[in-house]
């Protein structure tokens, strides 16, 4: 049992070193992980072995390292599983194209530089047991990695997540993660092909079959875990955790057996787990502590034990290190900065992104340990690469603060807040002619404070993509579709951002853009679906049902400016919203609004209105204010009360009395909500001679 005594001492020493040095690094505004990496090196032959060789041999006798190595491998499996769990495809929403471009260039450029450098380093730092392809691919992969967890932590600490830079960087790092691990899987396959007994064809076909099984069979099956989790009262029980760990181990075993590394299996299983935020967070919470505090420091210590700075002896070895560091920084920082600049970020933002993407941290150490394990890199090269990882991670915070001082971040956050205070309207535009009409409505219905319009032109699948979200002010401007709305915006000093991209599902994209841009209102034009005569069907219907913002559908029959507006009013949030819109328009356009209040025969208006006032929090209309009516300027309002059993007939009849515009809530009362086989459906839309504005209020689900 002597090994157990040694192991306990080793773990205790590792925890003490990693916690104290990690905390010391936090004091100097460095990520704790940098301190933990340094702690590993201090415990190794470079420092402890040099100043106290006997103590070093006592604590870390060579024969005991296999136990530490086993624990460290377990830690890495859990860590990669957590990285997979934290993979969030939503990060890419709305910035996918730009993120993919920046990320891929920021991977492939350092990758290329790594391979170019290999032409020089291969005859100097490798030997004939490793092929050039394996050496060069590995050098490339290890140059191109980004430490997503460190990067996310820096962004969060600097409160940058909510800025444009933070959002783009985190999306890029997410793409980077997946791409870099995929590349590494290929590299490992190539490396193992030349040394292992596992045939390449088995690795490649096995990997493809494994991925297909994971996506097509395992993912749908394990999605049932979410149901089980709900049934257990939204708690990750020990049974669930045990099952999840078993799945992770099975996946890791399979990828190891196939000849790619066990870490890929762990990562992949993490990515396949149900994407329920609470479920994932519960698992991460359970695994994180023991992984971060106990197992990863052991990995850092082992890395440190394999790192012997003494191996970089002589000026030529330090010259190689300088070359490696330069290639890593120029490739990653330079590649990310240039590609980010080309996708419309400013130089400052682009270089900030480049500096952040240059963080390598723990991820680099994981790759290096794989390289050392397979014998692709020697101990001396391993040491140089570890130092490169340390330097690039260490330089991130000071360089970033230099490019992006705290004062500037504060200013950007204030501007972002200011931007959020604007009244934001999304206008999907199909044809150039519809743009200015919708913009006029947007201008008229917006409250008096700042207005921001997002003009969205979606191209169907068979058309060619012309722009992207990240490029709000440049390319799309040239499109003819936007010309009328841009001219109107210029005349009225309205801030309009044109957006355009190809779509497979227009409604889904409109709803997603509305959520990303946090718009207050979506205004859509009349849209006639191909297979239906119905107005409120297809894309419009889907947006009306699913959008997390208020929605207006506009049918232009008479031309603006409108002076005579009718608002049929009966009940509900949508009717009240329609009235509020009418109030805005009346003030902006100096128009008269006729409030047609339809009541049951023999009732009077006061009774009805008093019944409408919410009675308390349980009332579904509690959060709907009636101030719209109370504060409606008298000079713009005419009240017309009609007793009727058929509100729709009455509304259509009165709408025929020379009104320019009818604003109506989206409800069954007005025959607008879909009703199968109903003849009343959309009668108002068909029979009303005036222009029509249909309003649907978004009420968040409680």
């Amino acid at each position: 049992m002597e090994f157990l005594l040694t192991l306990i001492i080793q773990i205790a020493v590792i925890i003490i070193a990693s916690r104290t040095i990690g905390l010391a690094f936090r004091k100097i505004h460095q990520p704790q992980v940098v301190g933990e990496m340094v702690a590993g090196i201090i415990l190794g032959p470079s420092v402890l072995g040099l100043i106290a060789p006997h103590l070093f041999t006592f604590i870390f006798p060579p024969s005991s390292l296999k136990y530490l190595s086993t624990l460290s491998q377990l830690g890495l499996l859990l860590f990669m599983f957590i990285v997979g769990l934290e993979l969030d495809p939503k990060l890419l929403k709305g910035r996918g194209h730009a993120a993919v471009l920046i990320s891929h260039v920021s991977i492939i450029l350092p990758f290329i530089l790594g391979t170019v450098l290999s032409l020089y380093l291969y005859p100097l730092l490798s030997n004939n047991s490793i092929t050039f392809t394996a050496f060069a691919l590995f050098m490339g992969a290890s140059m191109s990695i980004t430490a997503f967890p460190v990067l996310a932590r820096i962004l969060s600490e600097k409160n940058l997540i909510k800025t444009k830079l933070g959002a783009v960087t985190i999306a890029c790092a997410a793409v980077d993660d997946v791409t870099a691990w995929s590349i590494l899987a290929i590299v490992v396959t190539v490396v193992r092909a030349s040394s292992d007994k596992i045939p390449v064809w088995l690795t490649i076909t096995g990997s493809i079959v494994f991925i297909l099984i994971m996506i097509l069979i395992v993912r749908p099956v394990i999605s049932k875990l979410e149901i089980y989790y709900h049934n257990k009262g939204n708690k990750v029980t020990n049974d669930i955790l045990g099952l999840v760990l078993l799945l992770m181990l099975a996946s890791a075993w399979t990828t190891e057996w196939l000849g790619i590394h066990a870490l890929f299996g762990a990562f992949f299983m993490g990515a396949m787990m149900p994407r329920n935020k609470y479920f994932l967070n519960s698992i991460i919470e359970k695994l994180n502590d023991v992984t971060i505090v106990l197992l990863l420091p052991i990995f850092f210590a082992l890395t440190g034990l394999n790192t012997s700075i003494g191996l970089i002896a002589g000026p030529d070895m330090w010259f190689y290190f300088a070359l490696i560091l330069s290639a890593a920084v120029i490739g990653k920082l330079g590649g990310s900065t240039i590609s980010a600049r080309l996708t419309s970020l400013s130089w400052r933002e682009a270089s900030g992104l480049g500096i952040l993407m240059n963080t390598r941290g723990l991820m680099e150490l994981i790759i290096l340990s794989i390289g050392l394990q397979f014998g692709v890199i020697s101990h001396a090269l391993f040491t140089m690469m570890v130092l490169m990882a340390l330097v690039t991670t260490f330089m991130t915070t000071p360089f970033f603060e230099w490019v992006y001082p705290a004062k500037l971040i504060r200013k950007e956050l204030e501007e972002a807040d200011k931007e959020k205070q604007k009244f934001r309207i999304l206008i999907p535009i199909s044809f150039p002619s519809s743009g200015s009409g919708l913009a006029k409505i947007a201008f008229a219905v917006s409250p008096n404070h700042d207005l921001k319009i997002y003009a969205l032109h979606l191209l169907r699948g068979n058309e060619i993509s012309i722009s992207n979200l990240g490029d709000e002010n440049t390319t799309a401007n040239s499109s003819e579709v936007f010309l009328p709305i841009m001219n109107f915006a210029k005349e009225n000093s309205i801030n309009v951002s044109p957006l355009s991209f190809a779509t497979r599902n227009a409604a889904l994209d409109i709803n997603q853009i509305a959520s990303i841009k946090e718009v207050n209102l979506i205004i859509m034009g009349w849209h006639k679906p191909v297979l239906s005569e119905s107005i409120l069907s297809g894309t419009v219907s889907e947006v009306l049902r699913e959008a997390k913002a208020d929605v207006c559908v506009y049918l232009e029959r008479k031309f603006q400016p409108y002076k005579n507006i009718l608002v049929p009013f009966k009940e509900g949030a949508n009717d009240l919203g329609a009235l509020t819109l009418a109030q805005q328009m009346a003030i902006k356009l100096n128009a008269t609004v006729t409030l047609l209040h339809i009541i049951k025969p023999k009732s009077n208006i006061d009774d009805i209105i008093s019944n409408k006032i919410p009675t308390g929090p349980n009332d579904p209309d509690y959060d709907l204010s009636l101030t719209g009516i109370e504060e409606f300027p008298e000079e713009h309002l005419k009240l017309q009360t009609v007793e009727s059993d058929s509100p729709l007939d009455t509304a259509i009849k009165i709408a025929n009395n020379n009104f320019d515009l009818v604003i109506v809530g989206f409800s069954e009362t007005w025959g607008l909500e879909p009703a199968l086989f109903s003849k009343r459906h959309e009668r108002l839309a068909r029979e009303c001679p005036a222009s029509l504005l249909i309003f649907r209020k978004y009420v968040p689900k409680k």
């Binding site: 730009a98 471009l101 891929h104 290329i112 291969y122 030997n127 050039f132 993509s465």
Partner: protein, 155 residues
């Protein structure tokens, strides 16, 4: 369109460059792999050599480890002091140098610091060499003779 064009240009060109680099690199020759444990199977001492540098071989089962990083080598003797020497591999020859401080009176006419060299020649001509021959010598002392040795690689 701009993004897609940029993507094709930037990623496409770089990918083509990568393939070209790999093609060129396959023609480059790397140094022979000499890393690992080598057992000394034959040793012969020249004049006074045991007095001068016999300490390097004063164990029963003399062997040494070579840690290789390309042409850069670190040799660790399995003696009581675990003596380390840095060296280089050029073609089929490894050369190492180290300056030792002598703790006793020193060797006659040589002073207290001796500059020890070690030359090892690979004598097997396969891709995975398994036989070496060579000699230790003292550069700054003509009084000390060579220690000749041969070694085989532990499989």
């Amino acid at each position: 369109m701009k993004i897609i064009l940029l993507y094709i240009i930037m990623v496409g060109i770089l990918f083509a460059a990568l393939l070209e680099i790999l093609r060129v690199g396959e023609k480059i020759k790397a140094p022979l792999n000499v890393s690992g444990k080598w057992n000394i199977n034959n040793i012969s001492y020249g004049d006074n050599s045991n007095d001068c540098i016999g300490i390097l071989t004063n164990t029963k089962n003399s062997n040494f480890l070579i840690d290789q990083s390309g042409i850069h080598l670190t040799l660790i003797f399995n003696n009581s002091a675990k003596t380390e020497m840095q060296g280089k591999l050029e073609n089929n020859t490894m050369t190492f140098h180290k300056i030792f401080s002598v703790t006793n009176e020193g060797i006659k006419n040589c002073g207290k610091r001796i500059n020890v060299g070690l030359i090892l020649k690979i004598i097997s001509d396969n891709e995975y060499p398994d036989k070496l021959t060579g000699a230790w010598y003292v550069l700054n002392c003509s009084e000390c003779g060579k220690i000749n040795l041969s070694a085989v690689r532990e499989q």
